[in-house]
């Protein structure tokens, strides 16, 4: 079947513009709908936004050139097949042209062009899928798959008053000062998700992330849940007010959070901690 090469080129460019535009939308929308807060460490967010803008520009340029090329070559002649005069082709064009199989096949859609079109279509579909299905991970499920974070206590830069310490601050502090007697009776005001533990009561936990969710590692504190009522369900976010209490647990004494008030809360805007 004889095809119009100008239309093929235009269709290819439109598909590329569509795919790039959708990827730009994925990145830019992730920045505003809170998805990045759930997936990446905050230091990467500006990079994602900038990439979205660059991709959007690329998509707009592709779309503009696609329509300009058809307007400039209404007879169906593909634009820029050859540079003017006897100037040699740029290497990419020569390589592409030789892949295409030369002039005998120039009226049919060449395999390279078809592959480009399929690639653009596949990536556009994937980007649309990412837009349609936002992430909604189970932190408890993720934490259950990962070993505990054993990072050094050196990450603790300063010590806050007890009531202002986050769960992560407490874990790091206890790692740097393992003597539980130092903190017995301290006020606690923390939040986190409920992490079921094998053969133990559930803990209150947070995920630490260095880069993205793929490298998340959990940290947690043991909690003495009120007797008489079942502990909150796994993955439920709760805010706890209470005190640190020393408890004898093998192999020695350890600190346990004894809540005076437990309040279910929605997942916070920044659920991951650095």
């Amino acid at each position: 079947m004889v095809r119009n090469p100008a239309h093929d080129a235009r269709n290819g460019a439109i598909l590329r513009a569509l795919a790039l535009g959708l990827w730009a939308l994925v990145l830019l929308r992730s920045c505003v709908d809170g998805r990045l807060d759930l997936l990446l460490r905050r230091s990467f967010h500006p990079l994602v936004a900038l990439s979205g803008v660059v991709l959007l520009l690329l998509a707009l340029l592709q779309a503009r050139w696609a329509f300009d090329s058809v307007a400039a070559a209404p007879s169906g002649r593909p634009p820029q097949t050859r540079p003017p005069g006897n100037a040699p082709l740029p290497a990419e064009s020569r390589a592409t042209a030789s892949r295409e199989g030369g002039p005998a096949r120039s009226r049919r859609r060449n395999p390279g062009e078809r592959l480009d079109g399929l690639t653009a279509l596949a990536t556009a579909f994937l980007a649309a899928l990412l837009l349609a299905l936002p992430p909604n991970p189970s932190f408890a499920d993720l934490a259950a798959q990962r070993p505990r974070d054993e990072g050094s206590a050196g990450e603790l830069s300063f010590v806050l008053p007890p009531a202002q310490r986050s769960l992560t601050d407490w874990v790091r502090l206890l790692r740097s000062q393992p003597d539980p007697a130092l903190f017995d009776g301290d006020l606690v005001r923390i939040s986190g998700f409920v992490l079921p533990m094998p053969d133990q009561p559930p803990q209150l936990a947070r995920l630490l992330v260095r880069c993205c969710l793929a490298d998340a590692t959990p940290v947690g504190l043991p909690v003495r849940w009120p007797s008489g009522s079942p502990p909150p369900e796994a993955d439920q976010w709760v805010a706890i007010e209470g005190r640190m209490v020393m408890e004898a647990r093998p192999p020695g004494a350890t600190l346990v959070v004894v809540p005076s008030r437990i309040r279910p809360i929605a997942r916070p805007r920044y659920p991951l901690e650095p």
Binding site: A13, R16, A19, L27, L38, L39, L40, F44, L47, V48, S51, L58, L61, Q62, W65, Q80, R82, P83, N86, P88, P90, A91, E92, S93, R94, A95, A97, S98, E100, G102, P103, D116, T119, A120, A122, T123, L126, L133, P134, P135, N136, P137, S138, D141, L142, Q145, R146, P147, D149, E150, S152, G154, L208, R210, C211, C212, L213, A214, D215, T217
Partner: protein, 348 residues
């Protein structure tokens, strides 16, 4: 429009067929989030690499400077590794730049040295390693040195394969166009007076590559868009594989053998392969389990990941044929294992 929540909807029939039955909706939702995290984190670096490659193509279309890079068996990879200081990106960003080096006719060893060492030998990665392990000066020294050793070793190993067996055909074809006729015959080049001429009606003499004209900005950006999309597709596949393996293999299994010298190295190499985290932050991840593993295993994790991981496999398959990919994986594993063993002998 209210977006779907993966946990609240039945699994699409295709996914149910593709995934094992043990993966319930909760696990699948978690996997979907891990996949998105890996992908969205890597895309900016991929774009950065593609844009740098495009800038190189536009600013130096003849690639003359690439062919002047040292080509000696040792000096080539070393100079390629040194180029890493010019590109502060992780391994995803390095692949398109290495592809440009190869397509531009740079000596094979130089391009491979860059590809394998630059993800470690760049300011951001060195700074993040120093920030994560200020109390381990041996690691700050051994990581860059190890990366150079691995890069030189791999470059020497891969040079044993003829280029037509190592590189993908389209990349090889583009590379041939830039190589001087003293190195490549007209038949191999598939252009000029012998071979497949794009348009025989117009004279297309076998001009030396140095006379190639600068492509228009439109042409460069069109090529850049194509390259980004094809690399992104491979990146998606790599992230998908990495996610599935993460869901199936609990990480605690890999860290359970932390104390055994050889097993710990092998386990951490596997972990690096699976986690597929970018080299600019892998040191912080390693910090979370550094106390549980041997020093050699820690270094092995930091050396292997930047060269090869599941996420990278798709991207590297656009450069190398399967045999090259296999040799890269096997060679890296062997070199890193040897380095890790040596470190364990020295440090333990």
């Amino acid at each position: 429009m209210a977006a779907f929540q993966l946990t609240a909807m039945p699994l699409p029939p295709l996914l149910v067929l593709l995934l094992p039955v043990e993966l319930d909706a909760t696990r699948l939702a978690t996997g979907w989030a891990i996949f998105q995290g890996l992908l969205i984190e890597a895309l900016p670096f991929l774009l950065l690499g593609v844009l740098i490659a495009a800038a190189a193509r536009w600013l130096a279309p003849d690639g003359r400077w690439l062919r002047r890079l040292p080509s000696g068996p040792l000096l080539g990879p070393l100079s390629g590794a040194a180029l890493g200081f010019a590109l502060p990106a992780c391994e995803c960003g390095n692949v398109p730049v290495a592809r440009r080096l190869l397509a531009g006719g740079a000596p094979l060893g130089t391009a491979l040295g860059f590809l394998f060492a630059a993800p470690v030998l760049n300011p951001i990665v060195l700074a993040s390693t120093a920030a994560a392990f200020p109390d381990k000066p041996w690691l700050l020294l051994c990581r860059p040195l190890g990366a150079v050793v691995v890069a030189v070793g791999l470059a020497l190993l891969l040079k044993l394969l003829p280029e037509q067996e190592l590189l993908q055909p389209d990349l090889l074809e583009e590379r041939r166009l830039r190589q001087p006729l003293s190195e490549v015959s007209l038949l191999e080049r598939r252009s000029g007076q012998v071979g497949a001429l794009p348009e025989p009606a117009l004279p297309e003499p076998a001009l030396p590559p140095a006379t190639l004209e600068r492509p228009s900005l439109e042409e460069v950006l069109r090529h850049t868009s194509r390259e980004f999309l094809s690399l992104a597709l491979m990146l998606v596949l790599g992230c998908l594989v990495a996610t599935l393996v993460q869901l199936w293999v609990p990480r605690s299994w890999l860290l359970a053998v932390g104390g055994a010298p050889t097993l710990s190295i092998l386990a951490l190499m596997l972990l690096a392969l699976v986690v597929s985290v970018c080299s600019s932050v892998d040191a912080f991840l390693a910090l979370s389990f550094a106390a549980q593993v041997t020093p050699g295993a820690l270094l092995a994790f930091l050396l292997l990941g930047p060269v090869i991981d599941l996420k990278l496999l798709g991207l590297l398959s656009l450069l190398f044929r399967p045999r090259g990919l296999l040799l890269t994986t096997g060679g890296t594993a062997l070199l890193v294992l040897l380095i890790g063993q040596w470190i364990n002998l020295w440090q333990l």
